[in-house]
Amino acid sequence: MTPLPLSEYQSAFAQALNAANPLTVAPELAALVQQPGFAVYRNTVLKGCIDALQANYPAVARLVGDEWFRAAAAEFVRGNPPERPMLIEYGEEFAGFLAVFEPAAAMSYLAGVAALDRFWAEAHTAADAAVLDAETLAALTPERTREVTLIPHPAARWRWFADQPVYTIWSRNRGDGDPAADLEWCGEGALLTRPHAAVRWTSASAAGVAFLDSCAAGHSIERAVIAALGADPKADLASLVHQLLSVSAFTALAPSTSTESVS
């Protein structure tokens, strides 16, 4: 029998790895698929993907338990195989998958928890950068705050969760406190940073998240302040900025890239 061209062999082999039904396997592959060793490849590929996902989403896995997680992960892997070999990046769509995953419907916070696990991995591997210190900011004149913006540190990640204590659920399942303790069911924000080696996290206010969003969009400090006050008119801006600086949320000052004036 003439061997299959290499490219056709690979396409057929790859398809057979995924095929739940052996009847759908290309006939040229039948001699391989019927050997007991074929299952070794099938199992290794699936296990490798699920293991990677579990490593990247530890708080989700802890919340739902090993068995539930691996069953959900197997379903995710079928529709979203890794595209690239850097498995620390794998699973970008997992939070979105969980948001519409029927068995997770009763855990409406799960997708948010997955988003924070994802933030952790991104912060862990983000580029190294200097941390902006409070003195540099304190030296700015009021005029300059209309012209410059604060550049978020490349490792900084933040999000506001309007209706659920997602940050508390997540952090308790990453080793902070008791996962079974009572929760105050209200909105909260999360901020992850990595000034040096270790990823750190803290809760963030709605005003803090609005401030960071505005800075990330390249708006001036003055506009970021207005955005923060828009989110919470009672926010204490001085302590908010102090808190963001103290957790190394910014890397540098730069000219504002937004030309829109504030009036």
Binding site: P5, Q35, F38
Partner: protein
């Protein structure tokens, strides 16, 4: 043989051992890493590697270049690999005779290739391209086998030797993989080990294996146990014939303490040492 290589035993580097590895002063210890785990923009992984690199040489052992795919290696992946090579100046660089990347998806495994004339041309072109980009000689490893192919034109050693002749690449002989494959496909492991051309072997791998949970006649290259006595015996037989070569002890699952891995590494070191002194 790659003469600029320290002919000693090394260990696969695990994240849980970063601190122990960076402070360990065992003489002539080197570490092997999977470069894919360090293809990141920044952060502690690269920082640890920098720190360990100041005390110990490194070997980069890729698992994802997919050299046996019917396509050229991904240029972006090669570029990232070249960046790591420039930064960490590894003593050895290696990859596998296998594929994993195809049609836009990556499969975390070393998938088998029929060793045909077409495959030889393709893999040789891919090794050429890799060596051209890296400006380094690479070594190619024999993976573990679980399937019998009717379409092979070459035996594995003949294929790898011909690949080396065409590209100038070296061989990374994984003795455990020879043992596992010989068991699974029903051939004699010692005959395979004896047939490997001595001058092509730049590195040797040793690892543990396990029995498949479903099929008890299959051995799995699981890297979750100490090196088996039969694999040590094959290794000694090989070293006796070809002389000392850099030897890696791998453990990727059920990873024990760093000290326990150092003891297993010392076992390989002890087999190499008398021959190093005699050389």
């Amino acid at each position: 043989m790659n003469t600029n290589t320290a002919v000693t035993a090394g260990l696969g580097l695990k994240p849980q051992h970063y601190e122990a590895a960076s402070t360990c002063r065992a003489p002539s210890l080197w570490f092997e890493i999977h470069p894919e785990n360090y293809m990141v923009a920044g952060g502690p992984r690269l920082a640890w590697l920098e720190s360990i690199r100041t005390a110990h040489p490194l070997s980069l052992h890729g698992v994802a270049l997919s050299l046996a795919a019917a396509a050229a290696p991904d240029e972006e992946h090669l570029r990232r690999l070249a960046t790591l090579v420039r930064r960490f100046e590894p003593l050895l660089i290696s990859e596998h005779l296998a594929w994993s990347q195809w049609s836009g998806a990556y499969r975390p495994d070393l998938l088998p290739v029929p060793r045909t004339k077409e495959a030889l041309l393709q893999v040789a072109a891919n090794v050429d391209r890799t060596q051209e980009v890296l400006q380094r000689r690479i070594a190619i490893e024999n993976p573990s086998h679980y399937l019998a192919f009717e379409s092979h034109d070459y035996g594995e050693v003949d294929f790898l030797a011909e690949l080396a002749r065409r590209t100038g690449c070296a061989l990374l002989l994984d003795v455990n993989n020879v043992y596992v494959s010989a068991n699974n496909l029903g051939y004699n492991a010692a005959e395979v080990v004896d047939s490997v051309p001595s001058d092509l072997v730049a590195e040797i791998h040793l690892a543990g294996h396990s029995t498949d949970a479903a099929v008890e006649t299959l051995l799995i290259d699981s890297h979750d146990a100490p090196v088996a006595p039969a694999v040590w015996a094959l290794y000694e037989r090989l070293i006796e014939r070809i002389g000392p070569r850099p030897t890696l002890v791998e453990r990727d699952a059920e990873v024990p303490s760093f000290d326990e891995l150092l003891r297993e590494r010392a076992q390989a070191h002890a087999i190499l040492q008398p021959l190093r002194e005699a050389a």
